[in-house]
């Protein structure tokens, strides 16, 4: 039962990443990220209850409040305020992007078999999904041009790291996890401020326009 829930949620996270790749409306992409974080929270809760690792409940609570609620809310507000709602044509079109992501998933799963826990069972899926998410996040970051999408790509990478942390360790020390969450929130705030300044200056959040500095 537990392993079914875990695999379902992990797969859900992967699906949300694929949907992000196939999506151009920024508001939907942000909500997809929120859903992905919620699933991460469920994974953490399930493991916490099943294995009696109660400090993981704090991780889950942090994940849900910060990444499934607060950060999406902040980003949605930023998008509303600057009034730009759609991603422009990415460097690689959607079908081709999805194919690349499929390849990345295969790579992620292949690498996951090298882990001690990775060769079997639930751990295999968690690590496989996490590494695929990581690669897809990187791919999104390279191919997308809107500042908000790049932030979401970064946050996806961060979710992937947390999935690894939950999946293969017995839980990071709590104080470290709190510190990391605090830093992530701060980083998103700083990024949000920067996006607003960029939009105020260039009347666009198309990052490909930021290309004066070379050499």
């Amino acid at each position: 039962m537990t392993s079914n829930i875990l695999i379902l949620c992990a797969t859900g996270m992967l699906v949300s990443a694929y949907l992000m790749v196939g999506q151009k409306a920024l508001l939907t992409t942000i909500r997809l990220y929120g859903a992905q974080s919620l699933l991460l929270g469920i994974v953490a809760t399930t493991i916490a209850l099943a294995e009696g690792r109660h400090e993981l409940l704090v991780t889950a609570a942090l994940t849900v409040t910060l990444k499934a609620a607060l950060i999406p809310w902040f980003l949605l507000r930023t998008v509303d305020r600057i009034g730009i709602h759609r991603e422009i044509e990415p460097a690689l079109n959607v079908p081709a992007s999805l194919l690349v992501c499929l390849g990345l998933t295969v790579v992620g799963y292949r690498v996951s078999t090298g882990f001690l826990e990775g060769a079997r069972g639930v751990g295999h899926h968690l690590i496989g999904v996490a590494l695929s998410l990581l690669l897809i996040g990187l791919f999104l970051m390279v191919t997308r041009k809107k500042a908000i999408t790049q932030i979401l790509a970064l946050l996806t990478v961060e979710n992937a790291v947390f999935l690894v942390a939950i999946g293969v360790t017995e839980g990071m020390p709590l104080i470290v996890e709190l510190g990391i969450s605090f830093d992530v929130i701060l980083a998103v705030l700083v990024l949000g401020i920067l996006v607003q300044r960029i939009v105020g200056r260039f009347e666009s959040m198309d990052i490909s326009r930021l290309s004066k500095l070379k050499g």
């Binding site: 690498v111 090298g114 882990f115 001690l116 990581l134 990187l138 970051m141 500042a147 790049q150 970064l154 990478v157 961060e158 992937a160 790291v161 690894v164 942390a165 293969v168 360790t169 017995e170 990071m172 020390p173 104080i175 470290v176 996890e177 510190g179 990391i180 605090f182 830093d183 701060l186 980083a187 700083v190 990024l191 920067l194 300044r197 960029i198 200056r201 260039f202 990052i207 930021l210 290309s211 004066k212 500095l213 050499g215």
Partner: protein, 494 residues
């Protein structure tokens, strides 16, 4: 309260006070006084270490061994230099009437905050705490890059933050993987992520997981250090940030990131044997040195030129460690020390020239600056001589130490390429600096040049130059003892 905690609290309080209101003299006094006190405390902490007590706090999450003490002292030193120069820097801009209240707040708040974050990195003995501290340095420096609020500074800040955050994401994954690799050998609580605990558990780590973790962590912290090919944020950030902040990046942040790299390298060495991470460091270092060559030759901006020089120097340090012999490690740490002394002179003189010409672009500065700004130009030439590793200055000795270590070991071909790149860099630098300093004394049309005057900033640059030159002939015994202690840590003899 423990001395180490005071060392971290003082810059933090300074940042808080500086970021709030207050008159200008009060803010200037707070920043310089606070960071002078910080440097004093860094020295005292290092002194405590040398006298045999290892300063530590929070169950060894913060702990000062030889390597920490060296980085702590160097960071405290540039913190003070940067604060003193910063006062003069902002006064020059005040005189030109281009300083807004926002700038004052950010400047006096963020510079001490940046110093705090660096010292926090240097004092950390816990991979989790170290990661948090490095992230804090990133966040503290973003708004220093956007300080002048130009189009290009937003671009630089965006690139810096995206690349930096991605690097830190990798570093976090690396940390998690290293932690995962040692499951069952670590114990409970915060201490489980302590570097010392991980080092003890290293021989029992799961090799595949360690290897993956080391790669991610080295790439991640390598991004912060500016090792090629993750160096691309560096030239942009150096051009846009005000010179006092660039000094903190070029010396403090570089040393801090190298500190993290060395910690990861040591775990890898203990878990996998010496070859794996040494090879990675050697190739990243060599690539950094090589990549700097063409960009220095075609450079169009003075501060970007110094950014590529800093990429070169971090490459040299990585090569020194990556050679895998004790003399190489010693050379790298000696290089770190001399680089920390020499780089501020270069940045202060370049920053002064840029301020006088209203831009750091070479086509705006033109040639013949020796006639227009003799002191700053002379300092720039002197610093160029020092940082290209010419005798008789310190960086020459450290580079020779690394080269000798390379030629006497098993990496003769790599060392030969390295030597060729160093010579090419010397020539490139000489060409660029010569082009700026010599020539007809008239400024390029369209540039309004302010006359040079002996203000606080230039005085600080001169003091830094005196220290950089005299260090070649006389390195204080305690500092040398710290370098040896740090070498022991990096070389792994207890």
């Amino acid at each position: 309260m423990n001395l180490l905690l005071w060392t971290l609290t003082v810059p933090l309080v300074t940042a808080g006070v500086g970021g709030l209101g207050g008159s200008r003299p009060f803010k200037e006094l707070t920043m310089v006084g606070g960071l002078a006190l910080t440097f004093g405390l860094c020295l005292a902490t290092a002194g405590q270490f040398l006298s045999g007590h290892m300063p530590a706090a929070f169950g060894d999450a913060l702990r000062v061994d030889g390597l920490s003490a060296l980085v702590l002292v160097l960071c405290g030193f540039v913190g003070l230099l940067s604060a003193a120069y910063g006062v003069g820097y902002l006064r020059r801009n005040e005189r030109r009437g281009i300083v807004t209240p926002r700038m004052r707040r950010e400047f006096y708040g963020l510079i001490p905050a940046y110093v705090f974050a660096m010292l926090f990195v240097a004092a950390s003995n816990n991979l989790g705490v170290m990661w948090i501290a490095v992230e804090l340095t990133t966040l503290a420096s973003v708004f220093l890059i956007t300080f002048h609020d130009r189009d290009t500074s937003l671009e630089a800040a965006w690139k810096f933050l995206m690349l930096g955050s991605l690097g830190l994401g990798f570093a976090l994954l690396g940390t998690v993987l290293l932690f995962a690799a040692a499951q069952g050998h670590l114990g409970e609580g915060l201490g489980a992520l302590n570097w010392t605990t991980l080092m003890e558990a290293a021989p029992n780590m799961h090799p595949f997981t360690v290897r993956l973790g080391v790669v991610f962590a080295l790439i991640g912290y390598g991004t912060k250090a500016g090792l090629a090919p993750m160096h691309t944020w560096k030239p942009d950030a150096y051009r846009e940030a005000p010179s006092p902040a660039v000094v903190l990046m070029a010396v403090g942040m570089l040393n801090g990131a190298l500190y993290c790299i060395l910690r990861i390298h040591l775990i890898s060495k203990a878990a996998l044997g010496p070859d794996f991470s040494s090879g990675l460091l050697l190739s990243l270092g060599l690539l950094s040195v090589l990549i700097a060559v063409p960009f220095i030759l075609i450079q169009w901006n003075l501060k970007r030129l110094l950014a590529y020089s800093s990429i070169e120097h971090v490459g040299i340090m990585a090569v020194g460690v990556g050679l895998g012999v004790e003399a190489g490690a010693f050379g790298a740490l000696l290089h770190m020390t001399y680089h920390s002394l020499a780089k501020p002179v270069a940045l202060f003189s370049a920053g002064t020239l840029a301020q006088l010409h209203g831009s750091s672009d070479l086509d705006r500065i033109g040639g013949g600056t020796l006639g227009r700004a003799p002191v700053a130009s002379a300092l720039l030439v002197l610093s160029a001589v020092i940082i290209t590793g010419s005798p008789p200055f310190g960086l020459f000795f450290s580079e020779m130490t690394i080269l000798r270590a390379g030629f006497s070991g098993s990496h003769v071909i790599v060392t030969s390429i390295f030597l060729a790149a160093l010579i090419a860099l010397f020539c490139g630098f000489a060409y660029q600096i010569g082009r700026i300093v010599t020539g007809p004394p008239a400024a390029p049309s369209g540039t309004v040049v302010e006359p040079e005057r002996m203000d606080i900033a230039l005085a600080v640059a001169c003091i830094a130059a005196v220290l950089a030159v005299s260090s070649a002939f006389y390195l204080p015994a305690p500092l040398l003892a710290l370098i040896h202690a740090a070498t022991q840590v990096v070389w792994g003899t207890p």
